[in-house]
């Protein structure tokens, strides 16, 4: 135990003396959360629109002012002829054009049927879709208000509810993703690098000649990074609750335990990489290519896994972050308990045992 503590203490000296790395390790989650929270957002706000109002009557005016009043749209320009529509799109300023035909109010009130044309810039298909949906929703809303008490013979009213995330905040999606990314980076890459560094410096040999058990060396290397990761988890949670106003709907204890489980999986991966890598650069490269990229691409955080071709969907199952991401979403956002995520937990637990055994075993073989 005393050996172990001396070792852990030494690791903390290393981490503490390297101020720049420490700063990056502790600052990274803050920066990532803030960047994802405020700069990179896939919510569509204040999109510029142009309106061509050929009827200029009560109904069209009311609709236009409602579109303009919503936080999704800003009225950029009133057009006078249809020819201008394409010009405006080409200029690239507007994302959506709304066109009212002549006699809009009359048609609406007397024929019970009026048309509005929505033209979107689909060079970015997701944005175009979202804008069309927003605009349609506003128009529907207006329609239901003017029809009011007057019963139409047949209408189907769709009532939509966005479960768990009624405001469609992007933060619900990326906070779990950032947690997975940061933990993976801190644990896997840093553990791999720090062990390989001892190999490069020749101090690992000294350690192996000492009576300290190799398993203990490996564990002592991992402990400080486990603690650092817990600090990071807490930072991320505090930021998301108090800065991004994201609620933690489920049990905090469960969320923390699952995060620690994922941290240990990442640590074991780092140990495993360190047994195979001969230099710090190799360790870093393997961590980035083998872990970081798949985490971003295959965990479902950036791109939905369901839409991927079958081979990628199969590969995504061996990415630990995929399971963790799903756990965090379930616990933090949906407020579910262990019974909903036991499968993911079991998979992560299995991965932990597998990677850790393999790492310690490979580490011992090097001794023989």
């Amino acid at each position: 135990m005393k050996q172990f503590l001396s070792f852990v203490k030494k690791e903390f000296y290393h981490i503490g003396r390297d101020k720049r790395t420490l700063f990056i390790l502790l600052g990274m989650p803050v920066v990532q959360i803030l960047i994802f929270g405020f700069a990179l957002t896939n919510e569509v706000k204040n999109s510029k629109i142009a309106v061509l109002d050929n009827s200029k009557d009560e109904a069209s005016n009311a609709l236009i002012s409602q579109l303009d009043a919503s936080r999704y749209f800003d009225l950029e320009k009133n057009l006078v002829s249809f020819n201008q529509v394409e010009e405006e799109f080409k200029r690239g300023k507007i994302k959506l054009a709304v066109i009212f035909p002549e006699h809009f109010s009359e048609d609406l009130l007397h024929l019970n049927k009026a048309q509005v044309q929505l033209i979107a810039d689909a060079s970015d298909p997701n944005v175009a879709n979202t804008l069309i949906n927003y605009a349609s929703a506003i128009i529907m809303d207006y329609q239901s208000r003017i029809t009011g008490n007057r019963k139409l013979p047949y209408t189907i009213n769709t009532e939509m509810r966005m479960l768990y995330n009624p405001q469609l905040k992007g933060a619900f999606n990326f906070v779990p993703g950032v947690m997975a990314m940061v933990l993976l980076l801190v644990c896997t890459m840093m553990t791999a690098i720090t062990i390989v560094k001892e190999k490069e410096m020749g101090t690992m040999e000294i350690m192996l000649v000492s009576p300290m058990r190799p398993q203990l060396v490996v564990l002592a290397k991992a402990v400080p990074y486990l603690l650092l990761s817990i600090v990071n988890i807490i930072t991320i949670l505090l930021l998301s609750v108090f800065v991004l106003e994201l609620p933690i709907n489920g049990s905090l204890t469960l969320l923390m335990s699952e995060s620690i489980l994922f941290t240990v999986v990442s640590l074991s991966l780092g140990l495993l990489i360190s047994t195979g890598a001969a230099s710090q650069q190799t360790a870093m490269f393997i961590s980035l290519v083998a872990l970081f990229l798949p985490t971003i691409m295959l965990s479902g955080f950036m791109f939905p896994v369901e839409n991927m071709p079958l081979p990628l969907r199969i590969i995504s199952n061996i990415v630990p972050a995929k399971w963790y991401y799903s756990i965090v979403k379930s616990v933090m956002i949906k407020g579910l308990g262990l019974q909903a995520i036991w499968k993911e937990t079991l998979i992560l637990g299995g991965m932990m045992v597998f990677f850790l055994t393999l790492a310690i075993k490979k580490f011992k073989i090097r001794l023989a």
Binding site: K2, Q3, L5, S6, F7, K9, K10, Y13, H14, R17, D18, M201, G202, T203, E205, I206, M207, L208, V209, S210, P211, M212, L367, A368
Partner: protein
């Protein structure tokens, strides 16, 4: 224990596939002796030493260190040996005292022992003022002497030194060897590999390895007599020229 023999090797062999790195070497080292282990690059010195330290498992043959078998009792061997590798082995970003506390700690020494020992080493090396300095701020010669002190910090019976004086100036090397003599007088057995033939002269006995085999083993004076050479350098060159294996 076999009398005062602290290291014995009997037909010790290490094979990597077809390549025989260490080929049936046999020798004995006595308590308190300074045993020089010479050989060109790639002759198999380091591999042999790693087997004795328990870092590498022999393919065949027998060996004991401090009376313990290298196959079965390497944990006990580790308690009884110190080791200083070719690479400089202190932590540059730790202070001198922190390094000693760390190495004392992993050998399970008590706090009181570590404190006393640290003070006496700093005294001996005249580094009292540098105790709280980071190791990277010290000149190479001091680091090397410090590394040796750390290798025998836990007062082992045997210390293995793998080319300990690489890249050090002659004066420091001389001082380093004075430390080795002191350690040997206090009863520590020294097993040292080196490239410097003047250092070979300081050893009680030397063995010269060529292509994985021990070609000669005797006191420097005897070897010079047998090979009719004026210096250990001549002895070494006569033997090393026979090598067919390319240096690595």
């Amino acid at each position: 224990m076999t009398g005062d023999k602290v290291i014995t090797a009997d037909k010790l062999t290490k094979r990597y596939g077809d390549f025989v790195a260490v080929d049936h070497i046999s020798f004995e080292v006595h308590k308190g002796e300074i045993f020089g282990f010479l050989g060109a690059n790639g002759a198999g010195k380091t591999t042999a030493m790693r087997m004795l330290c328990g870092l590498s498992l022999p393919t065949s043959g027998k060996a004991t260190v401090a009376g313990f078998d290298v196959y079965r009792e390497n944990e006990k061997i580790k308690q009884n040996i110190g080791y200083m590798s070719q690479k400089f082995s202190l932590y540059e970003d730790l202070t001198v005292k922190e390094n000693m506390r760390f190495y004392g700690g992993i050998y399970g020494m008590s706090d009181a022992f570590i404190k006393n020992k640290t003070a006496s080493i700093l005294d001996q090396l005249h580094l009292q003022k540098e105790g709280n300095k980071l190791v990277k701020a010290l000149p190479l010669g001091w680091k090397q002497k410090l590394a040796f002190s750390v290798a025998i910090f836990h007062e082992p019976g045997i210390v293995f030194l793998d080319e300990p004086t690489g890249g050090v100036d002659p004066v420091t090397r001389r001082e380093f060897w004075n430390m080795i003599y002191q350690a040997s007088e206090s009863g520590i057995t020294i097993f040292v590999t080196t490239h410097y033939m003047d250092e070979a002269e300081y050893c009680n006995r030397v063995s010269i390895m060529v292509d994985g085999k021990i070609e000669a083993l005797d006191s420097p004076a005897q070897l010079k007599k047998i090979y009719e050479a004026g210096s250990m350098e001549d002895v070494f060159l006569q033997l090393a020229r026979k090598a067919v294996r390319a240096a690595d």
